[in-house]
Amino acid sequence: MTWNDFTLRVRALVRSSHAEEELDEELQFHLEMQSRQNQSVGKDAREARRLARAQFGNVAFVKEECRDMRGIRPIDDALADVCYAFRAFRRAPTFALTVVATIALALGLNTALFTIFNAYVFHPAAVHDPDKIYRYTWTNRSGAGHSFSWPEFVIFRDGNPVFSEVAGTISLLARVEGNPLSGELITANYFRMLGVGAEIGRTILPEDGISPGSAPVVVLSHTAWQGKLGGDPGIVGRTLVVRGHPLEVIGVVKPGFAGLNATACDFWVPMTMAGQLEEGPDLFGSDYPNRLDIVGRLKAEVTPGRAEAALAIWSQQTTTEQRSDERANRIVLESQATMVRLTPQLIAAAAPVLVAFVLVLLIACANIANMMLSRAVARQREIGLRLSLGAGRGRLVRQLLTESLVLAVPAALVGLALSEATISFGQRVVVSAMPRDLAQIVTVPPLQPDIRVFGFLFTAAVVSAILFGLAPALQASRLDVSQAARGEFKPELRPTKLRNTLVTGQIIACTILLICAGLALRASARLAKQPLGFSTNGIWELDVTEKQRSGVLSRLAEEPEVQGIAAAQSIPLNGMLPTVPITTGGGVNGIRSAYNVVSPTFFSVLGIPILSGRNFTQEEAQAHAAVAIVSQATALRLWPAQQALGQTLHLLPQPGASMESQIGHFPAVQVVGVAADIVSCCLTIGKDALLVYLPTAPTAAGTELLVRVRGNAERISSTLDAQLDLVSPGAIDQMHT
């Protein structure tokens, strides 16, 4: 199409009545000229005009051909179809409303799902050139991922062949001004590498991280500043106490950036503050603790595939000196361009949900297709008339499809509104169903519809319009013209086969969906009803920094609301317990049993009955005495025929394994009691098959605290928070129910 052609078409379209008048005038002029000429050769006026018309031919036909030349016929037709469709639906508003509502519902649900998917999977991270940002680690022989020590990081930063710049991160949880915040220790080049700027103040600069302990500063995310910290406009310059250390707020990053992980990051502190903010051996000390994660920006010319190959060789070479089970076996290079990577695993995991939602849309389409079909039957007379007047079948199908599209557009708009409503409702439900403090940590990415969502909605609407419109349109236009012309209409149009297929498909899809929904409901009901074996009411979990443990403990003991304090190495329902191979000296040898190291009060605080024998004593707890309490299931399993009490258990921890746990204190233990079974790991696994409790005291390092309180847990938690903050600010990293 040339430009000239285009402008002419546009003119014809926009000023169609004008073009029409011009055409009229032009042809009239011709006839006038012709009849004048005819008159000049002696015809009288009337005869001259008649002759002119005859010489010209069919004026209407010529006009039609000229219009065709304008090339706007399809658009003209489409406009006419749309007008016609509107008139038709004004005559049948109930039908139109039903269609719009049904499709809107299905489109709305699908759009809501896509919006969520979009936010995690397609929305690019708010950094400069996100496609070049990759997280790097390696897995060892047994598939465990590797965190890097500071020297390893330095070697990688300076020696790796593929990244132009590399930053290290360590994640960190802290309670700041009563809010649980998740943060990151970062090497000072982090923001420069990502190209993330500050909204107010400044970000962390390389000068902030020159030597360990330097720059007690913190940068906040926009969401954390606005939400958890109240949006104070004078936040820059204020001091926040993080894990007992005052840090000066130097800036807030641009909105939209909340770290690279799937969970949002609230604050960033220079890596050089690790010694102050972290427990355990100093990152820069001689123990070389493995803590860092590595993200880097690939060099411009390096593709991910080449980077992976180069890094595989590099990491194998640099780890050949290490113990065989710590060597790099496989390297992992993960794009950080979006919050969640679109991997085959993700697709597989999301597929059932996707299929369910698409099925909903298909069911809706089938429903409407059926309605359209019966409408088409009712419109036989109209369609027959058009066919016998010479309308092409393609033209008719196009018109019927236009009607579908006319319905799909409002459906898409209503669907968009519905999806917004669904998302905000769903967010409220999910957040209110979560424990309060978990809800505080989990930050949902903004779920605003963007261009991709609109694109999806548009495509889905058009596809569904074709789905529910095409089959009935084809069916309806398959009328016998000769019969239609005689006004003979069969009472039914024989769309039975198509209809049967549609209905069968619908029933199948509905049944599948119902069965799946039923199964999911039953499974969650079963989980909800499952007895845990202990009571969680009024229990608070405290994660305390070691330095302030004793202060917190004595303050807690003074609180009138606190009924009991217990300590445990692993808190029940927080995930898998560690295991250790055990031997009874008798029949059972070397099977792995879960174990937990707990204070004597553990059983009373959680309400776990001791079924036989006795609890640990205070002395045993302080001394880590060689005694144990086993769960009932364990007792039955290990000593089916005998009393468990008084038996000896040998624990065989592997050398080097779980160094930080206290398991090394207990080579052989005597069973002094049997406790009721509980669910330690997670609801889906159920009660522990094998579980051994070993004694410890709340004052021992490395245990987490459980506090049972009386009365309104919410109120007490805030008073406790305030009280504890007075004795030891920042002592509490986390507080859970």
Binding site: L8, H30, M33, N58, V62, E65
Partner: protein, 111 residues
């Protein structure tokens, strides 16, 4: 001249005739049909009706442009005029036509 002596136009030659007719200057539709008929000494019968779709098509192809002007009768008429592209097209089509008739002529003269 009797009806049978008149020739219907060959498919596609109308465009060429219109372009050639417009070469000297702008003209309205009726004049074009008259000119073709007259110059061909009434041999070629241009169906007056089919002239207009052809004019509109050529206009869309950008070979001619149209503007309103005042006709010899003092009435508004639509005048067509060759564009630069149209001139080029005319040249090309003329050559093609010459080669075509030449070839046909040779074949016919063969005997």
């Amino acid at each position: 001249m009797s009806e049978s002596a008149r020739l219907d136009l060959l498919q596609g030659t109308l465009d060429l005739l219109i372009l050639r007719t417009l070469q000297p200057g702008s003209m309205h539709g009726w004049a074009i049909s008259e000119r073709i008929q007259h110059t061909s000494q009434d041999v070629l019968r241009v169906n007056q009706g089919s002239l207009y779709p052809a004019l509109h098509r050529l206009e869309h192809q950008g070979w001619i442009t149209a503007e309103w002007g005042i006709s010899e009768l003092g009435r508004r008429a639509r005048f067509y005029r060759l564009t630069a592209a149209g001139k080029k097209q005319l040249q090309m089509e003329t050559q093609t036509w010459a080669r075509f008739t030449d070839a046909i002529g040779r074949v016919l003269d063969m005997a």
